[in-house]
Symmetry: C2
Subunit: 459 residues, 2 copies
């Protein structure tokens, strides 16, 4: 007998898991289909393990900053094997807790790969053979996986993707990082703190190419000072394991590019959606050229079929997935009939420096022909930045029609601005609103206050 | 010839300085009278130097936390003399920048002790003799100084107040701290990180007696684990320098109290207002029993005389002073006629753990007979707390009529919640508001989200 669920969710990452908890908690009969582990990329192969690496190695950076001021001396050595074991235990415990939560709420967890048979019916390839689930509503939250390009394929030997790097048992002495986006930068920082010599290559002319160009400049300046070899605006012809090395050949007009050697190479050149072979097209859903599932204003890909998170390509961030999932469940429960609105979406790069961004950036607005003003403050004027001897960075505000429309920041600890900054963008604060808010003193948050109250300049 | 100013400000601490900048920036003819250094207690003898100590020693704590997990090993040694020299240079540079800012804006800085002669006239004892200033409006922002009790007087030898401790050139091997409030706790933590054995005595039965009792319990548990000798709920009979030691005698019913010995003792038993000998009473202003200047709903102590900051006793916090100063200048400029409203005032204890609080606490509400509910989340469930191996602590929310009325938190890094939490209390968010806000993942801020969405319990 086939059970028919109010909601079947494909994928137990942040979007799918949160949707299952909320739907079941609100009385919907819910099944969650997961082909691998609960928690998805974020918990198992993404945000969480990288944060464990960065958190565990934070003392290295704090010490280095104070040592540069000659206020502290000493050394911090990371036991990488112990860190990996702690990480693995934490991830396992978290997965277990997630499973228990689902069980408590009466969610049916179906382990296996799901595929749509026809509208209203899904077949899951479980270990015990195929299992058919009926659904009134389907949520596709299958996420994404590391991408690669021809010549840039991880080989599992000396050339790894982020998943491979997170599974290491020994930290290499030297690491070639291909890709200067957030994944590459977080992993490179953690590896650097654990002693790896970093060479980073990106085809874009700047690090963190999606960020404000001034943010990129600050990142480049900090990492160069730390001794990273940055190769920006150069293409990679190939990366291969040769003997016990990763060998990267740069692209060159005359065909003989420079060779870079390291113990290991990390390929971090973006991600690809897990949208193939779901059987979605038969229901009328469409994938775009890159394979992302196209969704309408209600996040629907087809009648009664929603797609949330990485797989719809709107914003590849765990909290964006959770937010979309919350909306879909609210809509199923009849609590909203409005179209989905993300509002300003915060994004964070961890490490030292950190980067925070939400809302409209000046360059984006300019490209759209919008008239915006910017105001800014440097971290060097902030006493908490001074206390941590981490004064490189700034907060930059983007104003449209007298209201705050975007905020970005780079520097040690600036992720702490994220919630507040996102909220005041959402609420469209004026300079007056900011001047009457009581920022606690002394805080790094006052650098945001200073930026909000600074003179505005044309872009 | 006597110059008459639109505004004369007594005291160049956070309140007075901010008022001077804002008033002069808005075209008011302004004088600032300061008997000592620009920046007041906060910059020179309070918030800023303690944060420099804590920031500089942060690696010690981060390393200790990871070492306990056996993920890191090593040592961090602080060069206290170098730290003090860096602190002194930073403070001097900041004072200089403040002076330049005042000069740019055309504020007359008058160094010396000011005293009211009669309504509209002030005499300043400057180094060049007495100088008379006329005023249309006077702002008293004279701040506070360390307090003491009989038997608990700093002697400048082995028994110091916070000012004395901040001026040391060598960190003691052992420190007796009398007073478990924020000043005592921040200084004790910094000293502990620099190797001092800490003994802390307070007459109150718990640390940070102004905070939620559960916060106190967490602080006590963390500091005990760090090896502090906590003597709570015991009174001090005397503290004296004897030879090259500080000797503290505990109060005892039978007259023979236990003796505690250390290299140094810090007396941190609260603060006293700098309100004597200002000549305020002649204008009709009144001081309360503790010496604080009484102010009305417009922060006026007498006609055309406002009092802001520590000296009015409303809230001894730098940002409260700045906020009050902003209001007074706005009122002088005719931009507001409303009574002063502080809104929820955030307060922060730095160190590890940190403490944050804003709005109404459960025990306060209970004492007033108000009906409130609480909801909470433990930091151990947060991945960033896990990454820093600092999982001891929680976030606690207080709800009144379905709206958030207060938030407190204790744990490593919880000060980052301050601005956002203060704002949502001010705006009286409901649980629904919180559930639709996109908290970035993973962040420590999600512990606030978890607390906001947790089941509510009666107090």
């Amino acid at each position: 007998m086939t059970t028919t669920y109010d909601l079947v969710i494909l994928g137990g990452g942040p979007g799918g898991f949160d949707a299952a908890v909320e739907a079941a908690g609100s009385g919907l009969k819910t099944a969650l289909v997961e082909a691998a582990e609960l928690g998805g990329t974020c918990l198992n192969r993404g945000c969480i393990p990288t944060k464990l690496w960065l958190g565990a190695t934070d003392a290295v950076d704090e010490l280095a900053a104070q040592a540069k001021m000659r206020v502290a001396s000493g050394s911090v050595d990371i036991d990488f094997a112990a860190l990996q074991s702690r990480k693995d235990k934490y991830l396992a415990a978290t997965r277990k807790a997630m499973g228990q939560r689902l069980a408590q709420l009466g969610v049916d967890l179906v382990p296996g790969l799901g595929r749509i048979v026809q509208a209203g019916s899904l077949e899951v390839a479980t270990a015990d053979g195929p299992k058919t689930l009926g659904y009134r509503n389907l949520m596709v939250a299958t996420g994404s996986r590391p991408g690669s390009f021809p010549g840039l394929q991880p080989d599992g030997d000396r050339v790894l993707d982020s998943t491979g790097l997170l599974g290491l048992t020994e930290m290499p002495k030297s690491l070639l990082v291909v890709g200067g986006g957030f994944i590459g930068l977080e992993m490179a920082q953690a590896a650097h703190r654990m002693g790896a010599k970093i060479t980073l290559v990106d085809a874009l002319p700047r690090l963190a190419g999606a960020e404000d160009p001034e943010v990129s400049k600050t990142l480049e300046s900090v990492f160069k000072r730390q001794g990273w070899d940055l190769r920006l605006g150069v293409k990679v012809a190939s990366v291969k394991t040769i003997g016990d090395e990763a060998v990267l050949v740069l692209d060159s007009a005359d065909g003989v590019g420079e060779e870079l050697h390291a113990d290991l190479a990390l390929i971090a050149v973006g991600r690809r959606p897990n949208s193939a072979d779901l059987g979605l097209e038969a229901l009328g859903a469409t994938l775009n050229g890159a394979g992302y599932i196209q969704t309408d204003a209600q996040l629907l890909a087809a009648p009664n079929v929603s797609a949330v998170g990485d797989v719809n390509g709107r914003m590849l961030l765990a909290h964006a997935a959770s937010h979309q999932a919350h909306y879909v469940v609210e809509r199923l429960l009849g609590r909203t009939t409005k179209p989905y609105a993300s509002g300003p979406v915060p994004s964070i790069l961890y490490g030292a420096p950190e980067v925070f961004r939400a809302g409209v950036m000046a360059e984006e607005a300019k490209a759209l022909g919008e008239s915006v003003l910017v105001s800014r403050a440097q971290l060097i004027a902030n006493p908490i930045a001074q206390a941590h001897a981490a004064t490189h960075g700034f907060v930059k505000c983007v104003w449209r029609d007298g209201r705050i429309a975007g905020i970005t920041a780079v520097g040690a600890g600036v992720s702490r601005l994220a919630c507040f900054a996102t909220l005041i963008i959402q609420q469209g604060w004026t300079r007056e609103d900011a001047s009457s808010f009581m920022f606690p003193h002394p805080t790094l948050d006052e650098s945001l206050k200073a930026a909000l109250l600074a003179d505005k300049e044309a872009v």
